[in-house]
Subunit: 138 residues, 2 copies
C-alpha cells in the first residue's frame, strides 16, 4: 500500500485510515490532502478512524495537524468513528485533540459539514434570508 | 489491521479496500458486509479500489462474490476507482467482472445508486419527459 486514498464526495473529501500511520505515510497524507482540498475546492474533510484500535500520540498530532492545515485552506475537518477505547487512551495520553471536531458516524459528520442529513436530501434548515432578517431585527 | 471498515452513508454502504486481501480478510469482509446490509437495510454498496495497484484473480473473484451476495440481499454493488492498469490486468487474466457494475469515481457511483449527483443536490439531467418526446419524434 502506497498511500491512503482520498475520496471525493461532492464538496467533501473522505479519508479512511485503516493502517498504522508511520512518518512517511502521514506526511504523504498531509501533502495529498492539502493538494486535493485546493484542487477540488472542498469545504469539508471527514477522517474515519473506526478501523484504528490504537491511536498513539503521533497519530493524534497528525490528525490535529491535518485539521489545522485544512482550516487555513478554509475546509472543516471532522474525525469520525473513534472507538471508545481510543478516546480513553487519548485522554490518558494527555491529548484532547483540541481544535479537532469529532462525530460518532460518517452520517453525523456529513450532517455537521453540510447541514443536510446522511440521506442526501435537503435538510430542513433555516433559510439564509430568514436568518439574516432575524439578525437585522436587533 | 483487523478488518476492513464499512461506512454507512444514508442508505448506502462504503468500503475502501486499501490492503492486500488475503483469504481470511476477504471472508470477514463478506461476512461483515452481508450482516451490515441486513442490519441497515442498505440499498447500495460502493467498493472503492483506487488504492489497489494490483488486482489478482482472487480479489476479482471476491468482488464478484460480494456483488452477488449483495444482489440476493436486494442491494446493488458498484466498484469504483479502478486504476487503468488494473483494468488491463483483469482483462488479460480473462476476468471481465461480469455482473459487477463499475464507476470511475465515488461521486458517479453514488449517482448511479441514488439517481442524485455527488453534490447531494438533484442532478440537472435531461427531464424524462423531454427525453421521451425526442425518441418518439422518429
Amino acid at each position: 500500500m502506497d498511500r491512503i486514498p482520498i475520496l471525493r464526495m461532492g464538496s467533501l473529501l473522505l479519508v479512511t485510515i485503516q493502517v498504522d500511520m508511520h512518518d512517511r505515510l502521514a506526511m504523504m497524507l498531509q501533502d495529498d490532502l492539502t493538494a486535493k482540498i485546493s484542487e477540488t475546492e472542498a469545504k469539508g474533510v471527514l477522517i474515519d478512524i473506526s478501523a484504528l484500535e490504537v491511536v498513539d500520540s503521533f497519530i493524534g498530532r497528525t490528525l490535529a495537524n491535518i485539521a489545522n492545515m485544512a482550516r487555513v485552506l478554509d475546509a472543516q475537518t471532522i474525525v469520525v468513528g473513534m472507538q471508545p477505547a481510543v478516546a480513553i487512551t487519548l485522554v490518558e495520553l494527555g491529548m484532547t485533540l483540541s481544535g479537532v471536531r469529532t462525530a460518532l458516524t460518517v452520517d453525523r459528520g456529513m450532517e455537521m459539514l453540510t447541514g443536510r442529513n446522511g440521506d442526501y436530501r435537503r435538510a430542513e434548515s433555516i433559510a439564509p434570508d430568514q436568518a439574516n432578517d432575524a439578525s437585522l431585527e436587533e
